[in-house]
């Protein structure tokens, strides 16, 4: 993979780290919004290599983690119905609802399938006209165009047995929610490159100006992330707060207009609950009235499912960088990767899950043959 290797070059990484170290004269807290970037940071150990002055706060940008409990419960209900083929991206299968997950539904006889694209689900609907095929449409602006395309195609092909359970979320309102929170510590953002490759950069200057934070559009390979951090720190040191594109090989100013048109044709903005955070106005998408026939919530009449999320853990404060995971009373006791109380423990890239693993490095040896308490959940 020649092209990718170039973005993983240790010597170039060293040079960027030296530059970041030389630039940072005081402590700065940056947030990477996207779960994919968090994954890369943890996987390559980037957070341990940064100078002490630069702190990374892992944002709420993992679509799997922030999908509300209520929506998971709706998914579980629909997937349990006879005659349904419930299709999902793989990592949603292990996310706990109130009392089970999609794996459990599959174990009890539900037809739950992992697909790699909503178009695969569409194909299943075409081949199984006597079955109801439902696709779990989660994710940020990155996955929305393909999901919109699937609905568009379903209508074009006259497929009446295909629907979406939609829980799409949008990045800019989440940034706004984080920045308006009291005691917010975030001083700069690494904006999610893949989101910007679809939506472009137009939504960000207003946020950068209003909250006086640099926003650097950043990619996902180690060098991309280090370059994003370098530019954000440079702006902070100079007292600037601009939107900068450090990922020009994938992101154009205007994004992907065709994809945006597709989203706008099929989806409309709505308020959305975020797991562990709560309701954020205008932070999601739902199907427009014209495509309501493809909305699984209506088709399976699960709109009435309401789930209260008990206030047991402090993921919200962790997501803002207000506390370290270890400061939460539930951490490592009632809340582990095996029994996650919150979004940040569900995903292996979540701040709590990462801390949980690293803390074990200094723990006494487990008993040979003792029950394995840990897990890796490879989610975004």
């Amino acid at each position: 993979m020649k092209y990718i290797d170039e973005f993983n070059d240790p010597q170039l990484a060293r040079r960027l780290l030296d530059e970041i170290r030389a630039t940072a004269t005081r402590p700065w807290a940056l947030m990477e919004v996207c779960g994919g970037q968090t994954h890369s940071i943890i996987r390559h150990g980037i957070d341990q290599l940064l100078p002490e002055q630069v702190e990374l706060i892992h944002g709420p940008g993992c679509p799997v983690c922030v999908t509300p409990l209520e929506v998971i419960d709706k998914a579980l209900e629909i997937a349990s119905r006879p005659g349904v083929i419930f299709c999902s991206f793989g990592d949603m299968l292990r996310v706990p609802g109130t009392d089970r997950d999609l794996f459990r539904v599959k174990g009890e006889g539900g037809d739950v399938r992992v697909v790699y694209s909503p178009l695969d689900a569409l194909e299943l609907a075409r081949r199984n006209p006597d079955r109801e095929v439902v696709f779990f449409a989660i994710g940020f602006e990155t996955t929305a165009p393909a999901n919109a395309m699937a609905v568009h195609q379903a209508r074009r092909l006259g497929l009446s047995n295909f629907s979406l359970l939609v829980s799409h979320v949008r990045v800019p309102p989440a940034v706004e929610a984080i920045m308006t929170a009291p005691e917010c510590r975030v001083q700069g953002f690494l904006a999610a490159g893949h989101v910007c490759s679809v939506m472009g950069m137009a939504e960000y200057p207003e946020l950068a100006e209003r909250f006086r934070v640099p926003m650097v559009v950043t990619g996902f390979e180690p060098l991309d992330i280090l370059e994003g951090i370098r530019r954000a720190v440079r702006q902070l040191e100079r007292g600037e707060h601009r939107v900068e594109n450090a990922y020009p090989r994938a992101v154009r100013e205007e994004g992907n207009p065709a994809a945006v048109r597709m989203i706008e044709e099929v989806f409309e903005v709505t308020d959305r609950n975020w797991r562990g955070i709560g309701r954020i106005p205008a932070s999601g998408w739902r199907l427009t009235d014209a495509f309501r026939a493809y909305d699984a919530e209506h088709r399976f009449d699960v709109s009435g499912i309401r789930t209260e999320e008990p206030a047991e853990c402090r993921a919200g404060e962790v997501l803002q960088g207000l506390i370290k995971p270890t400061e939460c009373g539930a951490f490592g006791t009632t809340c582990t990767p095996r029994t996650p109380l919150g979004a940040t423990m569900v995903s292996s890239e979540g701040a709590c899950a990462a801390y949980y693993l690293y803390r074990r490095m200094n723990a006494p040896a487990p008993q040979a043959g003792g029950t394995a308490q840990q897990e890796v959940t490879p989610v975004a």
């Binding site: 993979m1 779960g35 790699y116 029950t371």
Partner: protein
Amino acid sequence: MPERLSEVVDPANWTCPAPLRDQGVVVMGHGGGGALSAELMEQIFTPAYGNATLAGLADSAVLELGGARLAFSTDSYVVRPLFFPGGCLGDLAVNGTVNDLAMSGAVPAYLSAAFVLEEGVQLSVVERIARSMGAAAEAAGVTIATGDTKVVESGHGDGVYVTTAGVGLVPAGVDVRPQRARPGDAVIVSGPIGLHGVAIMSVREGLEFGVEVASDTAPLAGLVAEMLAVTPDVHVLRDPTRGGLGASLNEIARASGTGVRLQERAIPVPDAVANACGFLGLDPLYVANEGRLVAFVPPSEAEEVLAAMRAHPQGAGATLIGECVAEHPGMVVVATGLGGTRVVDLPLGEQLPRIC
């Protein structure tokens, strides 16, 4: 959109979901070779059978019988599709059990083969599988000495299931088991990782990764014999099948109370595997292999063992990937290419493709 979001979003009320309760039913993850598989063993089977031999939880048991040290192992094979690039259910069923025996340092000798056939399966399919088993047994130098066949009604099986069991003799002076890992041991992998898992994924999911990836299924007893000829003091051998290298190394670290430190850049990951894993959001360390072993050998013997491995066809790509350490006992840590570290944990069940 209100001017001040703080009026409607109150972080003080940010909450968390309820915990996942214990499953109570078998889920696919129980067969994934990770934490769920281990729990099934520790919480149900071991207490139910109640004997010390089983408590070692190695891939094969080493038994004293009539003055001989016998390695004994069994494994069921339920792969879908039955035929895949590089192999089929048949050679997998022979090589898998041969390798489980070899990982105890044994010389595999005899296998059994029990078939569960689904009504309606083409006899030509059964014949192809049986023939491949015969060929694989010959290549591995073992005899299929006994067997059984059952047929289940259509819809109650997945075409063909095969269970093989095997026995072999452990040479005198050989004591290979996970508990023997020692700080300082060299950690060696016999070749490129992840090929079997990616080969299966590519045909099962209809995914193309630029080039056809063939399974690495192969018997490893010959390679092990060459290694033991260099030094009978090989500490640990493991064939990293389900759960991949990551799961195997975690099991070894936990069984021995040592830590494992790997150098990421030394781990041989073929481009096709890296591409497939990059595309799907999987970690090559957790992808299954069927013709690889990982060995822990005393540092003084490492160079010689490596040379012997590289001289054998199944070990041509043998590589030193890290060492056994006294730090972080029970844990596997990777030094990343950039100089950071990350923990490689025991996977829960099977890996799941990531959305982003």
